[in-house]
Every structure is written in structure tokens, then in C-alpha cells.
């Protein structure tokens, strides 16, 4: 298991700071925490009973952590038993657990249809989008953890800032020096070229690839598969022109760029949108070599 736990030192300093200013609210919250813990124990006992009586339930073991809640500062796994329904996804089971047993169970989710990219997690040891992962296809108990190689904020929520920083480091926006003359005229693009960049434009920024990448785990400055794919999306777009492509190749050729990739294909394997990430990285390497040869 590779889930990272945040350092203890940060936590204790936060707790101290809070302890300096006790208020009625804090007392009430303490009381609530105690009550919540009792309630949770009671519900879990109930669940276990129910599960024993009914075989059509799914067992989930879910990673729990909260930096400021007593009993959750030490990471632990909670078990939830969820009645199985046909077509149920990991997200459905998590939502059921939250709405029925423990409203503090925390995970990002929004569209439920694999396009918002909010709910990438580590399910039975692999990076998956919870909303498009069928329960029926998983071995039980299902182990649900936050994405590895990212700092855990709470339960299944990880800090995405580093991922966003890398995405934004590749000048991820269309650039060209030449627009058509006519006021209402579009740039032309061949069907073949659109087809070439199509897969790369499907990225939903879920960061499953980054989480799966050994190189990214060891080199925090590595751009990572998603950001390089974003660069590919523009570098291969014929509408941008040769001069811009030149600039793009320089960006991805930097020290922490394409040459770090060791073609392990882990990113390609976990991508929920089936983007051939490793191939895109390899193609950029070839482009960069060709480009450098030109100037020899």
C-alpha cells in the first residue's frame, strides 16, 4: 500500500494552536465528536449484523483521515456494508455509505459520468474513476484509498495543487501568429489532424496518470504524463504553425520533461479516457530529436 500519510509534526502544531483559545464552540464540538464516535460505533455494529443476515451486500474498506478530528488523525480504515444493486459503481457505494451511515465520509465527485474528473481514487490497488468502476467487477472487500503520491487532505480527498501547477507549466493554451483575414472565418483544420489530436483533447485532469507514475513519484518537478499530453495536444495541432511548435518542443524537452519518461506505460494503463499517453510522450521525443537534428 502506498498511500501517504501527512507528517505528524504539522498536525500537533495545529492542535496546539487550537487549544490556546478554548471557546464554547470548541466544547460543543468536543461533545459532538464524542457523540459522533458513539453513534458511529453503534451504526457499524448494526451494519455488521445486517450484513451477516443479507448476502447481497458489498463490503468496502475505506481509508479515513482528518487532520483535526480526534480519532481520525491516525489514518484508519472503516468498513461499510452496502446493499448491492445491479450496475452499482464504487461512487454509488460511497455515496450510499455517506448518506446512510456516516455523513462525514469525504470524497470529491460531481458529474457521475466520467467527464468532470473529480473522483479518481485508488481502488483495490489501482487508479480508477469511482463513477465508472463497476462494483461487480471488483474483488471484495473493496479497498478504497486516496490517490497515491499526493498529499491527503481528508479521507479520499488529495491536494491537487501540484498537478494543476504542472498542467499550467506547459503554456496550456492555443497560440498562433496567423489568423484568417475574414472577420467570421475559421482556421482550417484537416480531418486527419483533428483525428490526430482527438484523444489528447479528452483529458479530464483527473490525475490518475500522475499518481501511477513512478518517475513523477521520485521527481517532483517532472511535468508528468497529463501535462506532456497537453503539450502534445497543441504541438500536434496544425493550426498553431511551425514557430509555435518550436517553442513547445523546447518546453517539453527541458530537464524535467519528456526524457524523464521510462516508458513503463502505467499512465496509459490507468487513463480512464484511454488516452495513449506513453505513445504521445514517445512521439514528442521523436519530434524533439528530429527538430534538434535540423539545427545541427
Amino acid at each position: 500500500m502506498s498511500t501517504q500519510t501527512p507528517t505528524q509534526t504539522e498536525e500537533s502544531s495545529e492542535t496546539d494552536a487550537e487549544a490556546d483559545v478554548p471557546s464554547k464552540g470548541d466544547e460543543r464540538r468536543d461533545e459532538k465528536r464524542r457523540r459522533a464516535a458513539e453513534e458511529r460505533a453503534r451504526r457499524q455494529a448494526e451494519e455488521a449484523e445486517k450484513a451477516a443476515a443479507d448476502e447481497e451486500t458489498v463490503e468496502l474498506k475505506v481509508f479515513r483521515y482528518d487532520p483535526e478530528v480526534e480519532g481520525k488523525q491516525e489514518p484508519r480504515f472503516d468498513t461499510f456494508h452496502v446493499p448491492f444493486t445491479k450496475g452499482m459503481t464504487v461512487l454509488d457505494a460511497l455515496m450510499y455509505s455517506r448518506d446512510t451511515y456516516d455523513s462525514s465520509l469525504t470524497f470529491r465527485h460531481s458529474c457521475r459520468q466520467a467527464v468532470c474528473g473529480s473522483d479518481a481514487m485508488f481502488v483495490n490497488g489501482g487508479q480508477k474513476l469511482a463513477c465508472k468502476t463497476q462494483i461487480a467487477e471488483l474483488e471484495q472487500p473493496i479497498r478504497v484509498e486516496p490517490l497515491p503520491h499526493a498529499e491527503v487532505r481528508k479521507d479520499l480527498v488529495v491536494d491537487m495543487e501540484h498537478f494543476y501547477d504542472q498542467m499550467e507549466a506547459v503554456e496550456p493554451y492555443f497560440q498562433t501568429n496567423e489568423y484568417p483575414d475574414g472577420e467570421l472565418e475559421e482556421q482550417r483544420q484537416t480531418r486527419e489532424n483533428r483525428e490526430k489530436i482527438k484523444m489528447s483533447t479528452r483529458c479530464i485532469w483527473c490525475s490518475a496518470c500522475m499518481s501511477s507514475c513512478n518517475i513523477a513519484a521520485g521527481d517532483n518537478e517532472y511535468l508528468g504524463p497529463a501535462a506532456i499530453n497537453k503539450a502534445y495536444r497543441f504541438a500536434m495541432d496544425e493550426r498553431e504553425g511551425e514557430d509555435i511548435k518550436q517553442k513547445r518542443l523546447e518546453i517539453i524537452e527541458q530537464e524535467h520533461g519528456v526524457w524523464r519518461c521510462q516508458t513503463q506505460f502505467s499512465c496509459t494503463e490507468v487513463c480512464p479516457k484511454d488516452i495513449p499517453l506513453t505513445e504521445h510522450i514517445q512521439e514528442l521525443k521523436r519530434e524533439a530529436v528530429k527538430n534538434n537534428l535540423k539545427f545541427w
Binding site: 455523513s103 468532470c116 472565418e185 482550417r188
Partner: protein
């Protein structure tokens, strides 16, 4: 406290476009959104963007189709703005690099869509919204526009004069989901609400979990009326088990609907003898449910959408995303079998009352996109008209808020023009029950200076969060689920008086229950329990106003069908329904529809397809 010229709430298509426009007009602009921009639900839009780009087409034809589609409840100045400006906005997106589907000659492709007289829907496969959202977010990154992501806006900071038209919005109060910090965001020039849809009012919806109508509800409580809320679009092709959308593009490309007996019912049962599957969405949704109700549904629940005859090559080229959705969320292989579909809540035609520049009745408060009602969609939105609305009206609101001179509005807001009070007696009490948390302009602290108004609102928000976190009470989830179920059971495609009245009862009970709501997660870190609890208040306010409108409108127009009133009644009902919060005692009133356009009057015609 954070300070900017313009604050945009929400980071989907309308919000991003508004922010870009405001920045281009010279404003210091910031976006505040409870989701990171690329998580916004614009990304789920599939079909396309209507734009009269070609010589054989014209904005006038687009406007005619839109007015007809709206069942003559659209306001012509807004409709014409949409149709005139959509082409330049689509070209703008292309110039920003959006990967549109292309013709052999390299130009942007267009396809037929329901209710259109010309194939004018531009698209990027069946993932147009995803491409549009990401293209615009790229521009936001390029411009270095400040984004406060995962900040949930709780309330607006609005002065509390008696007449909403005298009030001014000075900013918003938001809760940082990551840290639990509450902060004021002061807007020197204006606040633009771009919070999207409210599908979570229903339980079978294509909308995201985040689409809880926050902007509509907070503007309502601050005094801006909700307009035409009874008009909800139920999309005819959603997957039965999840509500995931199957694009109209499938029917646009030639997909066919069959009932259990294998009949092509749109023709064989006479629902739309000319346009068949490509009739307007309300027509197709009613046809499907009629088939099911008359015993010709499959498993008494759904019908079949078949695209196999289009062939693998065309499907992969234009509808590939549909194959993935049907496979992942319904286990159906669209290449070898028909896909099960049924109507699902999809879009709110109504929303915050605005004029054609996005201005609400409250000074400094704007709205654009699905949360707004200008109105371009009237009683029924045409497929492919939502995305252009985002970019056309997002841009307009952004420019106006940044202080650009844009002329006199023709659409009025508030009781500024003709209006009439509704003479409808609801059997159930509606509105404030007390104990549901504060509302801006609800007779709170009296402050007149902008900072004072904002600070007072921050204090109220802090007290509310403290209250929810510290007290003992019931969880919101059950209340939310009750609301969603009663709305889907009774305020769906088919509506009857008794059940609508019962819904108001149910909603009253839910409001009473909500008085005791509490958050059991004590954490200030990523407390989604708290966020969802606050959202549920918004769902309650919207569900109530929506049901009030549905009861009061005694006619059948567009998406609004009433059992007791089976005709469109133009002599009485060529008017918008408005519900004002009125400091907790909701008031229902009407204002006339504007059918007079730039060069012509859109005379209501029989709407047949």
C-alpha cells in the same frame, strides 16, 4: 477580505466567458467557484452549439426557430441577441483552438438538431461541452485571471432597502472548502452569478451532484425574482439507471426511437408526423412517457434508441462518446443493440430574472447561463441553444459589469414595466418558516457602506456555520432525498393540480424538518456534509418557487403540461411567471412576453413538428 472589480460566481461556460470578457474590458476580475473550473458541468454537454455561420442560413431563421421552440415565451430582444452573436462567439472559440469536428474542406462541421430549420449545430464529436470548457479555461490560465476554486459562495452581500430595485450588491461571502475559512469578496463593479443548473431538485437528472441552483436561490433571497421556474426541460434520451445523457446528436445523425412492439412510435402513433425523432424535446419526452403509460414501454419504464444502422464508421467518427457512456453506465453496446432511454430532468429554462445584458433588478448583480432567465428559451429550449447562451450572455454580462457602455436594455427587470399581481391562493403556506439560516436583505443588520454590508454578511455566515457545526439535529440527506422524490413524482413531464398541491405540502414539511438540520462532521477541513447541508436550503427554495409557478400556470405551453388545461392559452398566458422572495413571504406576479423583435413581430403560431 478579498477585493476585485468584478466577482464571477461559478466557473462553467458562462462564468469563464464572463471573466474573460470583463478582463478584456479592463476590469480586475476573479472567479469564485465551489468546483475547480474543469469540474464544471458545462463539460458534460454533448450535442453542440447552434450558430448561423453559413450563407444559406441566417440569424433571423435561427431566431424564428428559437421563438417557435420557446412556444412564444422567449423575449425577442434576448433571442435575437443570442442568434446574432452566436456566430462570432463560435468563431472566437475556434480561434482559441477549440477542436471542432471538421468537413472535408477543413471548415467547422454542422449537423441537424431538433426544432432547427437548418443544420446549424456546430460540435466537437459528442463532447462539445468538454472541449468548450477546457478551451475557455485555457484562456483563463493564459490571462492569469484569479480563480478561488473550492470556495463555496454562501450568500450575496446586498443592501436591504424595501424595494429590491433600490438594492445594491457589493460582493459575496464564501466558505473555503479546504480550510473552513469564511471570507468576504468585495466587488467594486459587480457580481456575476454563473452557477448553472438546479437539476438536484429532481432525483432523475442529467445534472451533476453540484448542480443545486445556489446562485438562483441566493439571488432570490436577496430580492431578485425567479422567472418561469415551472419550465423544466426533460431530455427524452437519458439512461434509465443513472440519468446520464445520451446526446440529441444521436437522433440528429439518424437514430430511431422504438417502443416494445418495435414500432417507430414518433410516426406510427402520430406524435410528430413531420419531424419524428427530431421534434422538440418536450414533444419527444411526452411521447415516450405516453408509450410507457399505455403499456408499450420496455420493462414498463423506457423505450429504445437505435443507432446501429448508422454504421460503425459514422458512429465512431461523430458519436464515439455515446458508445462509452452506454457501455459504462448502462452496460449496452450501441454498435450491436439498441440503447434503453427515458426522459430525465435536464435543463431549467427559468432562472434569475435578467435583461439582455445579464443585469438583475438589484444594482451590481448580474446572472448569465443556465441560472439566468433573459429569456431566450421561454417554455422550451432547443437542443444546441444552451452552449451559445453561455458564451453570448456570459460575454455580455462580463463587459457590462466591467463598465462598458452597451446601450439601453429592452427587457425590463422587476416591476419596472407592465406587471400584474397573480390572483392565486395556495392551499399551503409557502416561504420562510424561520430557523433556516440567514438571507441577504432579509431585514438583517442595517449598513449602508459597501464594506459594512459585506462585513455584516460575513458575520451572519460565520454564525450560521458555527450553529450548523455545533448543534445536534437531523442530517440533510433525508430531507434532500424527500424533496427530489416528490418533485420527480409530481412535478415531472405530466402535471396535475392535486399532486402539485400535495407537493407544496411535502415541501412545507421538508422546510419544517430543515429547521432542525445539523452537520455531524465537526471538521473545518473539506467538510462536504456542511456544504451539502447549505445546498439543500437552496434546493428547498427553488423547488417551492417552481411548484408555485407550475400550479399557477393553468395552460399547456412548451415543457409545462397540465392535465386540466390541455391548450396553450395565448389570450391569458403570453406572460412570464415571477416569484419574489419578498422577505420570506413569496409573491407571485406576471410580466408580458416581448414578441417584438428588431425587424418583426413573432406572431404566435401553432407549434407542430
Amino acid at each position: 477580505m478579498h477585493e476585485h472589480d468584478v466577482i464571477v460566481v461559478g466557473a462553467g461556460g458562462a462564468g469563464l466567458r464572463a471573466a474573460i470578457a470583463a478582463q478584456e474590458a479592463g476590469a480586475d476580475v476573479a472567479i469564485v467557484s465551489k468546483l475547480h473550473p474543469v469540474r464544471s458541468h458545462t463539460g458534460a454537454a454533448e450535442g453542440g452549439i447552434n450558430a448561423a455561420l453559413r450563407d444559406a442560413d441566417s440569424w433571423e431563421d435561427h431566431a424564428y426557430d428559437t421563438m417557435k421552440g420557446s412556444d412564444y415565451l422567449g423575449d425577442a430582444p434576448a433571442v435575437e441577441a443570442l442568434c446574432q452573436e452566436s456566430p462570432e462567439e463560435v468563431i472566437q472559440l475556434e480561434h482559441w483552438g477549440m477542436p471542432f469536428s471538421r468537413e472535408e474542406d477543413g471548415r467547422v462541421s454542422q449537423r441537424p438538431f431538433g426544432g432547427l430549420s437548418f443544420p446549424r449545430t456546430t460540435y466537437a464529436g459528442a463532447e462539445t461541452g468538454h472541449q468548450m470548457l477546457h478551451t475557455m479555461y485555457e484562456q483563463v490560465v493564459k490571462r492569469g485571471i484569479t480563480v478561488y476554486d473550492e470556495w463555496h459562495v454562501m450568500e450575496l452581500a446586498v443592501t436591504d432597502e424595501d424595494d429590491p430595485a433600490d438594492r445594491t450588491c457589493h460582493g459575496v461571502v464564501a466558505y473555503d472548502i479546504q480550510s473552513g475559512e469564511i471570507s468576504g469578496f468585495r466587488a467594486e463593479n459587480g457580481v456575476i452569478l454563473a452557477t448553472g443548473g438546479m437539476g438536484q431538485v429532481f432525483d432523475h437528472t442529467t445534472n451533476a451532484v453540484a448542480n443545486t441552483g445556489d446562485g438562483v436561490a441566493m439571488a432570490y433571497r436577496a430580492g431578485a425574482p425567479m422567472e418561469d421556474m415551472e419550465f423544466i426541460q426533460f431530455h427524452p434520451t437519458t439512461l434509465p439507471s443513472t440519468g446520464v445523457l445520451i446526446s440529441e446528436g444521436v437522433r440528429g445523425e439518424g437514430g430511431i426511437l422504438y417502443n416494445e412492439e418495435g414500432e417507430r412510435f414518433m410516426f406510427e402513433h402520430g406524435y410528430a408526423n413531420n419531424d419524428g425523432e427530431l421534434a422538440s424535446r418536450d414533444v419527444v419526452s411526452r411521447a415516450e412517457l405516453t408509450e410507457v403509460n399505455e403499456g408499450r414501454g420496455i420493462e414498463d419504464e423506457y423505450v429504445h434508441l437505435d443507432m446501429r444502422h448508422l454504421g460503425e464508421e459514422r458512429i465512431l467518427d461523430r458519436l464515439e462518446n455515446i458508445l462509452h457512456l452506454a457501455e459504462d453506465f448502462e452496460g449496452a453496446d450501441g454498435l450491436t443493440e439498441p440503447m434503453p432511454v427515458k426522459p430525465g430532468q435536464h435543463y431549467a429554462m427559468g432562472g434569475i430574472e435578467t435583461n439582455e445584458f445579464g443585469e438583475t433588478v438589484i444594482g451590481g448583480l448580474y446572472a448569465a447561463g443556465e441560472c439566468a432567465c433573459a429569456s431566450v428559451h421561454g417554455a422550451n429550449r432547443l437542443g444546441g441553444n444552451a452552449l451559445p447562451e453561455l458564451i453570448v450572455f456570459g460575454k455580455r454580462a462580463g463587459r457590462h459589469a466591467a463598465g462598458e457602455e452597451m446601450g439601453e436594455a429592452e427587457v425590463t427587470t422587476g416591476k419596472d414595466g407592465d406587471w400584474e399581481a397573480a390572483d392565486y391562493e395556495f392551499e399551503t403556506e409557502v416561504g420562510e418558516t424561520g430557523g433556516q439560516g440567514p438571507a441577504a436583505a432579509d431585514g438583517g443588520a442595517v449598513a449602508t457602506d459597501p464594506d459594512g454590508v459585506l462585513e455584516a454578511e460575513v458575520e451572519r455566515a460565520e454564525a450560521r456555520v458555527e450553529e450548523l457545526l455545533s448543534r445536534k439535529g437531523r442530517n440533510h440527506a433525508e430531507i434532500r432525498s424527500t424533496v427530489q422524490q416528490t418533485m420527480t413524482a409530481n412535478v415531472n413531464v405530466f402535471r396535475e393540480e392535486g399532486r402539485l398541491e400535495k407537493t407544496l405540502d411535502d415541501l412545507r414539511e421538508a422546510r419544517e424538518a430543515y429547521k432542525d438540520v445539523a452537520v455531524s462532521d465537526p471538521s473545518r477541513t473539506f467538510n462536504t456534509d456542511l456544504i451539502h447541508t447549505m445546498e439543500t436550503r437552496n434546493i428547498l427554495d427553488i423547488a417551492e418557487a417552481l411548484t408555485m409557478g407550475a400550479l399557477a400556470r393553468k395552460e399547456f405551453r412548451g415543457a409545462h403540461w397540465r392535465k386540466e388545461h390541455q391548450e396553450r392559452k395565448d389570450e391569458n398566458w403570453l406572460k412570464h411567471t415571477l416569484v419574489s422572495w419578498n422577505d420570506g413571504e413569496p409573491e407571485l406576479w406576471y410580466k408580458p412576453t416581448i414578441l417584438e423583435g428588431e425587424n418583426k413581430i413573432y406572431e404566435p403560431k401553432n407549434r407542430s413538428y
